[in-house]
Amino acid sequence: MPKRGSPPQSADTPVSGGAPGTRRRFMLGGLAAAASYGLGGGVGYVSAGGSGVATADQPTPWFHDAFEKVTRGRPVETKSKLVKFDIPGLAENGNMVPYSLLVDSPMTDVDNVRSITVLSPLNPQAFIASFEFSKASGVARVQGRLRLAKTQDVLVIVEFGNGQLVSASRRVEVHVGGCGTG
């Protein structure tokens, strides 16, 4: 259990077991990922990893850390049609945005979804939620409600039982930001 006084970034992403991936390897993978998600412009993105300074619409350094904790340097299929990610394209109020996720999977012993992680590239903390399924799940679907501080591309990463990773992102325009930053 994270203690209250611990640094927000570590407390923020409970995904554990991160390989000792180097920053450099992560940045290379992350660059490709960021480009395909349309999350950031190439050159500026590097400074986010290096200096910890994020500007306007570049994913935050802690988003990169959270992304790396989930993916641990493994490739992520970004064009998969297996993930259905429903979230309003426009949120009047970023404090409560409903979302729904469905992954096309038979959920058998050999072919199943292990987990789904939802991350924010621009919130003051990146980690939104993660969900772990089981043999009893039957279907890989889940609904929840999230907070968005500003307009951004919400990212979901699906990990299958065989370790394969796929992702999907949806842009949500936010009129009044959540996260208590206003």
Partner: protein, 110 residues
């Protein structure tokens, strides 16, 4: 440290053996982000519900972890295949270590 409020569980009215049902669960919790300040300008410490565990007849069937990006008064809707009657228990924990749970009997009545 006050107690967490009792969480909620809602199931479909009728369940047939083999159905994959949607379990609706929720709890009242402010999900304090740590970014806010009180009226005196002092930071309000972060405290979010960070863990939800659902067991059916003592077997873990679904877990959720939340960060501060999950909205206040979190709800989840998750699937569960019901083959036989059993007891569904959902336990919620926040970062102050407070725990609360609710349990319902799942009947096969369809």
């Amino acid at each position: 440290m006050s107690n967490l409020t009792k969480p909620r569980i809602k199931l479909p009215d009728t369940i047939k053996s083999g159905d994959v049902i949607d379990v609706h669960a929720g709890i009242t919790h402010v999900m304090e982000t740590g970014n806010r300040r009180d009226s005196e300008g002092r930071p309000i410490p972060r405290n979010v519900v960070n863990s939800v565990v659902a067991t059916f007849s003592d077997e873990v069937v679904f877990t959720a972890k939340f960060g501060s990006g999950t909205a206040a008064n979190p709800i989840i809707v998750f699937p569960m295949r019901v083959l036989a009657p059993g007891r569904l228990e959902i336990t919620w924990m926040d970062e102050e270590g407070r725990l609360t749970s609710d349990a319902v009997n799942v009947l096969v009545n369809g």
